[in-house]
Symmetry: C2
Subunit: 259 residues, 2 copies
């Protein structure tokens, strides 16, 4: 549906513009804690407000599941699963790697029909519609074959990462930890890395559906797959309280590296 694609790009443009117009004003912004314990900042609120403004102007055609607000039930068939800023800490630190993530579907990740992730520092945009392939700035993207000699892993680290995650960071020739799961999963989708892992300890629990809803469709449409930490195909309900660990891979042969 061209209409849904247009709507998602319009929302991304509005977020991009809102964030750009306040650039540099985020460093001193107080970083608080969201309902789910994730740090939030002024930039998240600015971005989220921009999304709701576009939707309201169109009569709220989608329900909205977002990071900071209660589920917005407009009695529509489909839900927008929204992370207004994925990589808030990067934005606040002026590390130019943070994104807006927009997905449309029903119920769970298996029923996401559209996904869009835009890097708000560079403007680069990843997009997929179910069954129609994945694109970066209009060009088709595909995962790459795993080869040990050029292995590159993107791994969530720091003191909430599981010991296993730190082990993964020591395996390949190159490891990056970039701070935006949505974008890191899209880099795997585009063949720029072999794996993105978010594996936390039981107390802190993993990523949220808003972080991965768009990127999971983009990765699958590019030929990749996602797994939970038991090796099962990854899925999550549209529920902000759920957290789950995840391995996103381009070529499943990368998983052999862990055996």
């Amino acid at each position: 549906m061209r209409a849904m694609r247009s709507l998602l790009f319009e929302i991304a443009d509005a977020v991009h513009e809102a964030v750009r117009s306040t650039e540099g004003a985020f460093e001193d912004a107080e970083v608080g804690m969201g309902a789910d314990g994730t740090p939030t900042a002024k930039i998240d609120r600015v971005a989220e407000d921009a999304v709701f403004k576009v939707l309201a102007a169109k009569g709220n055609p989608l329900n909205v599941l977002s990071e900071e607000r209660e589920f917005q039930d407009f009695k529509r068939a489909e839900t927008l699963v929204l992370d207004p800023i994925d990589g808030t800490a990067n934005a606040v630190s002026r590390i130019p790697f943070y994104s807006v993530s927009l997905a449309v579907g029903v119920r769970d990740l298996d029923n996401v029909r559209y996904g869009l992730v835009r890097n708000l520092a560079s403007g680069e945009t990843f997009y997929a519609a179910k069954g129609k392939g994945a694109y970066r700035d209009g060009e088709r993207i595909k995962v790459r074959d795993f080869r040990l000699d050029r292995a590159q892993f993107l791994v969530y680290l720091g003191n909430r990462a599981a010991r296993h995650a730190h082990g993964m960071a020591a395996m390949p020739r190159r490891t990056r930890s970039l701070g935006s799961t949505a974008l890191e999963t899209c880099i795997v989708a585009a063949g720029g890395a072999d794996l993105h892992a978010v594996v936390m300890g039981a107390a802190t629990g993993g990523l949220r559906v808003v972080d991965i809803a768009a990127a999971s469709l983009i990765l699958r449409e590019a030929g990749g797959e996602l797994y939970d930490d038991r090796g099962q195909r990854f899925n999550m309900p549209f529920d902000i309280r759920v957290r789950r660990n995840m391995l996103a891979v381009g070529d499943p042969r990368v998983l052999e590296a862990f055996k």
Copy 2:
């Protein structure tokens, strides 16, 4: 000296333009090995050629120590210490975080008088002249005070990193591994992180003077300091064969975290 500042910005512009005009053509470029065992790619050559072209047009006012060529001795008083692309693997992977690094001085890091690092994906430019402070896009930058509750470390990882580096990645609330030492050190200089560490095993040995010559001045002019892995003040001769481990910090109190 305004003249030297102008020359460095002119070189950065030339590199930026050369890299931008060939954007997207790097993914398929064969990545080989430089004289010192570091991977090189077409983008490095394109960037380096742009630098030499600007210098030649001005009668080669500086000797040049670069990543890929022999030392270019034009019998000048000062040397340009050049990394045409710091973060080649990122550029090839289309991770938007790679830079050109330009430093001018004599003999060793202690005698660098000017330093410029430009993020070639975003255009953001860090600059310092000795004794004159450090700047990002014309605005004065300063390191931040270390506070454990917002600690963010930037750590070089992968299978060439020392075990100690992987330990560091597990310590703070937030860890990033971004793939460009020059830029990561500048982020510490600008108060976006508390530490950047490059600690490799004895066999692979650490970073090269071209990676850190510009950023070391920028960090010191912003109020930070660099240490070697024995805790001594960091220095390196202008010699491409030397490799050394490094901790770059904003506030030395961060080092207490390791005790």
